[in-house]
């Protein structure tokens, strides 16, 4: 039982100040922008909820949101099962465990723009390893800067490359925490591999997988740097995800009001989905 102690707030205070400073002040600024209109020269006028209405009606926002949802759904569908599969097939002990862990963690430790740049170099049609292989050896016409399909596939493969390891690490952590006796009991009970997965491994991984899916959802929904470096949102607008679109609006056109309204809607959406998912996944633990 935890001790009831209001003094605990003093312990939390530094965290509270640091995070609030970084979260609340910018958030208030964004809220402030979202309800005002400016014509430059630091002159602002009250605009009410006008920007929110505009954004919610704008086709541009719908398109970006649609692309974003498609992207996030796709990478979740690929990365989660793939990550689990890799974690399941990884060795549990011995020399190869740290080797696997170190090699698999590498992509997670590369600055995001370097990831974008690396994939750019990797996929250059004439002199990139992948681009050359596809175009010259396999004879597939592959050029990310011209074909939206190629751009999409590349962005997704890049994200799978970049982030599947996070799912692997989490799933693996869940797996190695299962006591040996469970596997022994399952053997004695003549459980098939599928039954072992379904009734032992999956339930034990549920908590870490919830974390993995949440993290991947949040981060992929906010993805900006990697696709921006790789495709710049193109060709056309085909890989312009929400964050990229937002930065275009906010910095490119300096439309602070709509950009702010857009980001609040977008933040609220992320929060809502995360909260729903979290609540459903943890419901029967109470």
């Amino acid at each position: 039982m935890k001790t009831q102690n209001q003094r605990a707030w003093f312990f939390v205070l530094p965290v509270l100040i640091l995070v609030a400073f970084n979260a609340l002040v910018p958030l208030m600024t964004v809220v402030n922008y979202s309800v005002q209109e400016t014509f430059g020269d630091n002159l602002f006028f009250w605009h009410g909820l006008g920007w929110f209405e505009d954004v919610l009606r704008s086709e541009r926002f719908h398109a970006a949101l649609g692309r974003q949802i498609l992207f996030t759904a796709t990478i979740l569908i690929i990365e989660v099962p793939l990550g689990v599969a890799i974690a399941l097939t990884m060795p549990r002990k011995g020399f190869w465990v740290p080797v696997c862990l170190v090699l698999m963690s590498l992509p997670l430790l590369i600055p995001w723009n370097v990831v974008g740049a690396m994939w750019n170099i990797f996929t250059l049609p004439d002199i990139g390893l992948l681009g050359y292989f596809l175009n010259t050896v396999l004879g597939i016409d592959y050029n990310m800067t011209q074909s939206p399909v190629a751009a999409w596939v590349t962005v997704i493969v890049m994200d799978v490359w970049h982030w599947t390891s996070l799912v692997v690490l989490l799933a693996y952590a869940g797996l190695i925490s299962i006591p040996e006796a469970y596997y022994q009991a399952a053997k004695i009970d003549a459980a098939s591999n599928w039954a072992i997965f379904r009734y032992i491994q999956l339930p034990k991984m549920k908590r870490v997988l919830t974390i993995a899916i949440l993290l991947r959802f949040m981060d992929s929904f906010n993805i900006y740097t990697e696709p921006f470096v790789l495709t710049g949102g193109g060709p056309g607008n085909s890989t312009t995800f929400l964050s990229i679109d937002l930065v275009k609006v906010a910095l490119g056109q300096f439309d602070l009001g709509p950009a702010a309204a857009m980001s609040l809607i977008y933040f609220a959406f992320t929060l809502l989905v995360s909260w729903l998912f979290y609540t459903i996944m943890t419901k029967d633990e109470q």
Binding site: P179, A181, Y182, Q184, A185, K187, I188, D189, A190, P203
Partner: protein
């Protein structure tokens, strides 16, 4: 149900064991009767879990064979051996109900649903869990979870042997006793061979018909609880079983005369100590009494009242001897004379019993 034979069994966890000390399980030949209740007793690390895992098939022995009713099962995986095992920590399938947990081993073997239902209901009644079949197993207490893991073994009517690997470790003391009597009761009802691994002598002695005492990978004695108490074949057994354990006293042997602290001590049987071996007398505190004359002089160091008896610790020279006495105990510091009951006093050489029984 089966008779279990261990034939020339030996096991090492090392790929290429060099000497005897590399073996976690020293060479053993054993035969366990069908329907018996056996306990494997020994301190942690004595190899009892290794032996258990070899019988269940979770471990493949380095040498030797395991036979169930003369059928060699050494090469068979656990699920083909028709055994059940209850582990130290309750292993249950968290997401399933009690019913599904019990039905799991049957469903995996493709048993028709009607039979599954009949069997599960029957076993649940036996375990007194019939009213909780629809509850999620994850929410149950550790004692009920252990009952379910046992039940998963019992549902199979072809089960050869049920093994328990220290099953009461996580159970509350109050529940321990209940669960243990439940086990005993089940054994009497269905007469399946049961092997119970523990380091707790009370658990072993109350559960088993036959107790197998192990030390350092070796079986030192197999016998009924009474055998182990009255006639330990090894000083380890004498010391490990009983509270306080057997007195192990250094002695001098000349021909058939055994002397402790210069006093001749009559023993059961004829001592047969090979020359050069370290000889010791073993006598349980229960068979040490005080006498007014004769016997071994000693000074009482302390006396502890343990309810119906008093445990007296006395120094015979520089050797401590314990005695369990009825009635009032002598005060600390007083001089007493100790007498050993000759029928329960034995001579051991290098730890092993070294008497030839006479007459009897």
């Amino acid at each position: 149900m089966a008779r279990i034979t261990l034939d020339g069994l030996r096991h090492s966890y090392m790929p290429e064991p060099q000497g005897e000390e590399d073996y976690a399980l020293k060479r053993m030949d054993l035969e366990w009767k069908d329907g018996g209740a056996y306990a494997l007793l020994g301190p942690s690390g004595c190899g009892k879990s290794t032996l258990l895992n070899i019988i269940s098939g979770l471990l493949h022995p380095s040498e030797g064979r395991v036979l169930f009713n003369d059928r060699d099962v050494t090469e068979e995986p656990p699920d083909r051996r028709n055994i059940a095992q209850v582990f130290q920590f309750p292993v249950i399938y968290d997401t399933m109900t009690v019913y599904d947990n019990l039905a799991f081993p049957l469903r995996n073997r493709g048993v028709p649903a009607i039979q599954v239902d009949a069997r599960v209901t029957e076993i649940a009644e036996m375990l007194e869990m019939g009213d909780r079949l629809r509850t999620r197993a994850a929410g149950l207490g550790p004692d009920d979870k252990q009952k379910i893991s046992m039940g998963r073994g019992l549902v199979r009517d072809d089960v050869n042997v049920i093994m328990f690997d220290e099953p009461l470790t996580v159970i509350d003391p109050a529940q321990k006793w209940k669960l243990r009597s439940k086990l005993k009761e089940l054994h009497q009802k269905i007469a399946v061979t049961m092997i119970y691994v523990t380091h707790d002598q009370t658990e072993a002695l109350t559960f088993a018909d036959q107790v197998v005492v192990m030390q350092e990978g070796q079986v030192v004695q197999i016998g009924t609880p009474v055998d182990l108490f009255e006639c330990p074949r090894h000083t380890f057994v004498g010391h490990f079983i009983g509270s306080p354990g057997m007195n192990i006293l250094p002695c001098a042997v000349e021909g058939q005369r055994v002397a402790f602290q210069g006093v001749t001590v009559p023993t059961a049987g004829v001592p047969d100590v090979p020359s050069g071996a370290a000889a010791e007398i073993g006598v349980r505190p229960e068979f040490v009494s005080l006498s007014t004359e004769g016997g071994i002089p000693a000074i009482v160091r302390k006396a502890a009242d343990i309810g119906r008896h008093t445990v007296v610790e006395a120094m015979a020279g520089d050797v401590p001897v314990s005695a369990v006495l009825d009635g009032t105990a002598p005060e600390a510091g007083s001089e007493v004379r100790l007498r050993f009951d000759p029928t329960h006093t034995r001579v051991y050489a290098d730890g092993w019993l070294a008497t030839r029984e006479t007459g009897a």
